[in-house]
Each structure stands twice: as C-alpha cells, then as structure tokens.
C-alpha cells in the first residue's frame, strides 16, 4: 500500500467514524420522553407461523396484518390506545345522511418508489378487494363496511367498477355507503382497506409482493423475506413522517414451538415472545419486569348445539344454566391458564370500547351459591342420579384446550353427576364437524374484527355464519339490527347481553389476555390497544 492511499484510508475511516458518532449522538434520547435510546434500533419478535400474504387486500392472519400495517398505510391509523389518528388521510367529512364520506389525503404521502399516493390508489385497492377475481378471503370485510354495491359485486351481479368509491381528484377520496354505519371510519385501519400501487400490481400481477417487486407506502419497506424463517422490514426513508420514526428495523422470526421461542427469548435472541399456557406465574416471579399481561378483545366459550341435531336436554335453558353455573371460571383462569385472563360471565369482553357489559346475576354469586343453584336447576329439569345427563364435548387438539375441557368436565361430574365425554379433533375436522352441527357441546373463541361490541354480539344472531350452535331468538336479532343505526347503542347491547345471560346459548369461560415476555428495553408497546394493532413506527429501543 502506498503512502497516499494509506492516508486516504485513514481519512475515510475517521470520517466514517465521525459520521457514526454523530448518528449515535443524535439518536441518543427520545424527543418527547427524554429517555436514553439504544444505538441499535432493532426490534425482534417471534411469529408462530409464516404469514398468509404480504398483499394487504389478501392477508387474513393477525401476524400478517401486523406486517401489512408496517409496510402499508391506510386512510386512518390507530394510536397506542386504539383511538383513530390520521394516516394517509388528514381529515374526512361526513354527509348529513351519513352515507357519504370524503377523505382528504395528504400530498406528502409517497410510495417507496417515489410515486405519490393518490385517491386512485385507494379506488384501485378497494375495487381489487371486492373483485371476485382477486379471490380475497376478506371480500366480506367490504360488505361489512356497507360500501355501496359491495354485496352485489361479491355475488358477481355487478362489476367492481360499480363499487361506491370515487377519486374526486388525486387527494380527495369519496366513499358511498348503502346504509349509515357508526364505526365505518374505525374500519379504515384494517389492512383490507390499505392502498395498492396500481402500476406495480398491473406490471407484475400475482408476483407484485415478491421482495424484489413490492412497492409500499408505510413507514417500513420489506428488505428480506425467507419463508418459514424470517421477515425483515426496515425504515422507509420516503415515508412522510419518517423523521418521527425511531425504530430502524423490525425482524420477525418464525418459531413454531412456543417453548423453543421462550428459550431463544431467554437467550437474548428475541425482544418479544408469547408465554406458553400456565408458565406465566413462574416467569413473572423470575422476570417481573418482562412478563406482562393485559386484556385483549377476544373471548373463549363453549357453545351448545341448539339445532335439531343437538341433544334434547340442551333445549331446556335450565340445563344450559346449570352447566354454565357449575363451571368455576376462577380455577380455569387462575390455575389452568394462569396468564392474567379475566373470568367471563358475559359474552362481550369488558375490554371493549364504548360499552360495559352488564353485571349478570351469576357474576355476583359465590361459586358455592352457583353450584347450589346449578344442582337445583338440573333437578328441576329432571336430571339426577336416576336419570343422569350425558353428552359429548368436542374441542380442537391443543394442550391448553384439553386442560380446560378436562377441568370443566370434572367439575360437572363432581358437582352435578353429569357424564361429559371428551373428543378432540384436528383443527379442520373440528371446524367442519362444528359447522355441520354434528356435536353436542363445542369449543369456540372469537377475536373482535373492530373495537365495538357488535363484533361479538352479532355472532349469536340467528343468521350469523359463525352461529354454529344455531341459537335463534327473534328479540335478540331485533336488538342487534336496531343497534346498527342507533345513536346510543348501550341500552340495546345491555339488553342483548341480558338475553344471553338468561338463554345461555353459550358458556363464556374467560376473556383473553395478551401474555408476553417483552424485553424491558422495548419502549411504548401498546398494551392499552385491546386489538393489539401495533405499529413498529411507534416503538423504540431504550439504552440498556
């Protein structure tokens, strides 16, 4: 090496070091909280399984949606509490008849290839979502949003061009609804409604989401995707609010086995992982700062088969009441799950926004009182030692479901002398069996599609596709139909919950909790967002 080149090298090296030093210095504290930030702003978390798609209109799983929220940005975003905040749209107007929404889009929003994000991209994406040719499993979401003509387009009766969406100009997007929908704007945070880059989609077709082709408009861009192994997204320098993004990189590692994931978390390879069922108390004791639990918008229940193929005994509400009363939810929540899950006495989780489920009579009783009442009711229904009640219980194969089913049937046997026979089934077989009403009592669970009580209560409407127990109560249906357009939904939802408490078509067991091991240097994880719609751009890493 000559003297000159050595000198140049030294100069180069020192300038690089200087530059690195400056970056480290400027990234040192959080602009609002003043907390000291880590030099390496990378967040690594565990994915249970590979995601279903990178295409926002097609993705259907929770983890895939989280990736989609980082890569793409829709009209509205959610903040850490789940409240709406502007996304690509800075504001919106609603017409007096509440049927037309006009969104004003920011002119600073651009795609990662530099093209501006326009109202046309939203029109394109929304039409794409309902187009039967896209075959999106979320076509129904557009129907649920009550967008004009969505139902007819999905049914193949109209063309996607007739969907109630319009680009007034590049930065004005207009949506027409078929009926007023109070929570319409909340639904625009869902990935199905994210924009799609028309030119790129048309150029590459189905291959547009390949890492080498994908163009996105979110705070992050996809930099690496190894199916079954990892998904890496890194800061999008072109994102309109890039200067407020702190986290540089988010890495999702696919680790199917939850215990292996926990081991790798403990070895320092992950910043976040799920706590396997029953291990929370131990982990909380050993790592009090890191084991966290917070309410989530999901319920866990058992559903009676009330259709003609169901057992005769379940047609009697007293039998259903008795079985529900005898389930000691505290034992299941505290000893079996043990992750801070609240025991459930209502169908709608308490965590839901804008509605507090009424305190049922059962909830205010002690377990001894409940057991006593259960015995009485079952005797009144004509079941006892001479005429024992017997039925089958089905659940899908999983250690956690099995534990709960075993505990529950033991409670019935010991307290009521009821013989419940357990059968576990592989997931798809289970869904098929339950969907064909080929069961007596079956496990069920639901996570809200949006943060509003109807996402749960609608499930028990007589025409709901998820009502596998075929519960039908005309009064209940009427209340829910009224709630769709009502100014004040609370009295209607309260009445609906009261009907459930009396009819007991399902046995609510517990409501979910998010139970995580979360490295204490992860800043601003949205534990108060009950839907757990998290955005990497709101996170940061603290200096250790």
């Amino acid at each position: 090496m000559t003297r000159i080149s050595r000198l140049t090298m030294t100069a180069l090296l020192s300038s690089t070091m200087l530059a690195a030093g400056i970056t480290a210095a400027t990234a040192a504290t959080h602009p609002e909280t003043g907390e000291e930030l880590a030099a390496d702003q990378t967040f690594t978390y565990r994915l249970l399984d590979d995601i279903s798609s990178l295409d926002p209109q097609i993705v259907e799983d929770v983890d895939g949606s989280a990736v989609s929220r980082d890569l793409f940005e829709g009209l509205m975003n959610q903040d850490e509490q789940g409240n709406l905040e502007p996304g690509v749209a800075t504001s919106y107007d609603v017409s007096d008849d509440k049927l037309t929404y006009t969104f004003h889009l920011r002119d600073t929003a651009v795609w990662s290839n530099g093209d501006p994000v326009t109202a046309g991209d939203f029109v394109f994406a929304w039409r794409r979502a309902v187009d039967p040719a896209t075959a999106s499993p979320y076509q129904w979401f557009m129907e649920l949003m009550s967008i004009n003509n969505a139902k007819a387009i999905v049914a193949g009766e109209k063309s996607p061009e007739e969907l109630g969406v319009k680009a007034i100009d590049d930065h004005t997007f207009e949506v027409t609804l078929s009926q007023p929908l109070p929570y319409f704007v909340q639904m625009t945070t869902h990935s199905t409604t994210f924009p799609a880059p028309q030119k790129v989609v048309e150029e590459f077709g189905d291959a547009w989401t390949k890492p080498e082709n994908i163009v996105s408009n979110g705070a992050y861009v996809l930099t690496e995707y190894r199916p079954g192994e990892r998904i890496v997204r890194e800061r999008n320098e072109k994102y309109w609010d890039n200067e407020h993004t702190i986290l540089d990189k988010t890495v999702a590692l696919v680790i199917t086995d939850e215990n292996v994931a926990l081991t790798r978390y403990l070895a320092g390879e992950l910043d976040r992982t799920d706590v396997p069922a029953g291990q929370f108390p131990r982990l909380k004791k050993e790592h009090p700062e890191e084991a966290i639990s917070f309410p989530r918008l999901c319920n866990y229940y058992y559903t009676f088969n009330l259709s003609d193929s169901g057992p005769e005994a379940f047609k009697d509400p007293k039998v259903r009441q008795a079985l529900s009363l005898a389930v000691d939810r505290d034992i299941i929540a505290n000893n079996v799950k043990a992750g801070g899950e609240p025991p459930a006495y209502s169908f709608t989780p308490e965590a839901v926004a804008g509605f507090t489920p009424p305190q049922s009579e059962m909830a205010s009783m002690t377990q001894a009182e409940r057991d006593e009442k259960a015995k009485e009711l079952l005797a009144e229904a004509g079941y006892g030692p001479e005429n024992p009640l017997s039925f089958d219980v089905i659940y899908n194969t999983s250690e956690a479901h099995e534990k709960i089913a075993v505990v529950m049937t033991q409670m019935w046997k010991q307290k009521l002398g009821v013989q419940a026979n357990l059968a576990n089934m592989e997931w798809k077989v289970f869904l098929d069996t339950r969907g064909q009403q080929d069961f007596d009592l079956a496990r069920g669970a639901w996570c809200g599609d949006y943060n509003e009580a109807s996402t749960f209560l609608d499930l028990l409407q007589s025409d709901s596709g998820y009502n596998d127990g075929k519960y039908a109560n005309a009064e209940y249906d009427k209340l829910l139909a009224e709630a769709k357009t009502a100014e004040d939904t609370t009295p209607l939802y309260t009445a609906a919950e009261e009907i459930i408490a009396t009819d007991m078509p399902v046995i609510p067991i517990y409501h979910y909790a998010g139970v995580y091991m979360m490295d204490s240097d992860v800043g601003n994880w949205p534990t108060e967002n009950v839907e757990q719609n998290w955005y990497s751009r709101n996170l940061y890493k603290l200096a250790e």
């Binding site: 079954g228 390879e269 069996t433 969907g435």
Partner: protein, 307 residues
C-alpha cells in the same frame, strides 16, 4: 445394466401416478378444505375463491388439470394458504435447505455409525465395544424431537455458543444443531446393524478360510469382511436417506430452518392441496430414485447379485 435402469425408471412413472391419485383422493376425503376457517366465509365469497382455484370443478377435472399443468408447464399450481407463493416457489426455496442439512446428517450418521459399528465388532467384548454399543443405544433412544430442545437449551441458553435457530443461507453455526438432532438416532441404528453384521461375517466360513491362509487381520477386515458387512447397512441407508429429508419436520419446527418438512406437515393440516401433492410427488420420486441407487449399490457390493 442400462436397460435395467431404464426399465426401473419406467416402472416408477405409474408408481408415482398412483401415489398422486391416491393422495389426491385421500386429501379430498379429509373433512374441511383449504378455506375452512374459524371465521366461516360467506357462501358467495367461498364460491368466488373456489372458482379462482378451480376447486368448483369435478374431482376428475381438477386432477386432469393438475397433471396437464405439470406436464405442459412444469407448474405445480398455487399454494392455497400462502397466497403469494406457488408450489414451485415453496419447493425451490425449501428443498435445497432440507437437502443440505439432510445430506450432512446422512453423512454424519453413516460415517460415525459405520465407524462405531466396525470398531465395536473388531474389538468385540472389550471396553471399546461396550462404549460403542452404549453410545449407539443412547443415540437411538434420543429421537430428534427430544434432541432438538435439549440441544437448544444446552448450546443456546446455557453455553450461548450457537444461535437457537434460523438458517442464514446455511452458515455453519446454523447447521450444527439441526445436523446433530437429525443424525443421532440413525447413527445409533447404523452402528448397531454394522456391528452385528460384521460379527456375523467375521464368524463365517470364508473368513475362516482367509485366516487359515494366513492373511493378516487387517487385510481380512478391510479387504474381505467390509463389503459383505455393509450389505444390510446399505439396505437400511436407502430409506434413511429419504427419512432424513422427510422426517426433518421436527428439525424445521425446532430450528426454523425454512426447510420443506415443515411445509409437508403444515400443508396437510391446512389442507393446502397443491403443496401437499407437490411435496408428495417430490418425496415419491426421491424414494424411487434412492431405491434404485440402493439396488445398484447392492449389485456393486455383492457379486452374488451381479452375476
């Protein structure tokens, strides 16, 4: 010899066809489909999706289209579950990974297994024999789904020496644990088979003749005993080679390698018909080829078969 090989390959084609038809029918008999989900799709949505994937066609038509696309375009169809990827993509990405650690595990198992077995047989009833036998039994008693977690606990959590999973383009640190986890139990079996085979051969008449001729122990073992010893080992190795590739599902699950074993099992569970069929064809073809190679190796090792 060449006609024999060609004949065997031609026979393989109807075998694989039968395999595909059988898997195809069994798959469709299993309750539920790729689009059965916790959240049931409205009937019109389901109809659109089924139409898009051709699942609304009669079974014989689906099967015909499937074969047609393979023969005409070498296209194994789209994945029904991982919607951005085709079966060709999934196999192209996963198979090289499975093949890499599978082959390494196979080599490790054969070399160490045969070595242990021979050492044990030559030093019959000495401490070497006892050591090799107990090591073999211990290895065999630890299947890969037990080895996996033990290795991760030891090397990742306690010693902090190796990354707990991932593939990273097949870097050596990421290869060690999958290869150990996959190879140990086969290593044990191979050692056991080699040992008993070698003992049998060493007690046979032609070895006695060789000894009587005054040949050295070394020459007897390596020149005369080794080949016949390996015959039963080879017949075991053929299936093992296919097993290390197909049986790698645990390795894929525990070490997140992104290999094909994981796709095989998950496609069955999620009723991802096209992926399941594609991987079945691949493994079927592999089995046929490996069986053929095993038979050829047999002929080379055993003159009695050749002549």
């Amino acid at each position: 010899m060449l006609t024999y090989v060609i004949r065997r390959l031609l026979v393989a084609i109807p075998t694989i066809l039968l395999l595909v038809v059988a898997s195809f029918l069994m798959m469709h008999v299993a309750p539920g489909g790729p689009f059965t989900s916790e959240r049931p799709l409205p009937p019109e949505v389901l109809a659109n999706i089924n139409a898009q994937y051709g699942l609304d066609q009669p079974l014989w038509k689906q099967l015909w289209d499937y074969f047609y696309n393979i023969v005409a375009h070498f296209d194994f169809g789209p994945s029904f579950v991982q919607k951005d990827r085709s079966v060709n993509d999934i196999i192209a990405q996963g198979f090289p990974i499975s093949l890499t650690y599978g082959s390494l595990a196979f080599l490790a198992a054969s070399i160490v297994g045969v070595g242990l077995g021979i050492a044990a047989a030559i030093r019959h009833n000495t401490w070497i024999d006892y050591f090799a036998v107990s090591l073999g039994i211990a290895a065999q008693a630890l299947p890969n789904f037990i080895m996996g977690p033990i290795l991760i606990l030891t090397f990742t959590l306690w010693l902090g020496l190796l990354p707990g999973g991932g593939w990273n383009g097949g870097q050596w640190q990421y290869l060690i644990m999958p290869v150990i986890a996959l190879s140990t139990s086969y290593m044990g079996s191979i050692a056991r088979i080699t040992r008993s085979s070698m003992l049998e051969v060493l007690n046979s008449n032609f070895i006695r003749t060789a000894r009587a001729k005054g040949l050295s122990h070394k020459a007897i073992v390596w020149r005369h005993a080794l080949k016949p010893t390996l015959l039963p080992v080879i017949s075991y190795l053929g299936p093992v080679f296919v097993y290390v590739l197909t049986g790698s599902v645990f390795v894929d699950l525990y070490f997140s390698t992104g290999g094909l074993g994981q796709s095989y099992v998950s496609s069955a569970l999620t009723r991802d018909y096209a992926v399941l069929l594609g991987v079945t064809i691949l493994y079927g073809a592999l089995t046929v080829i490996v069986n053929l190679l095993t038979d050829l190796a047999y002929a080379w090792f055993d003159p009695k078969i050749r002549y």
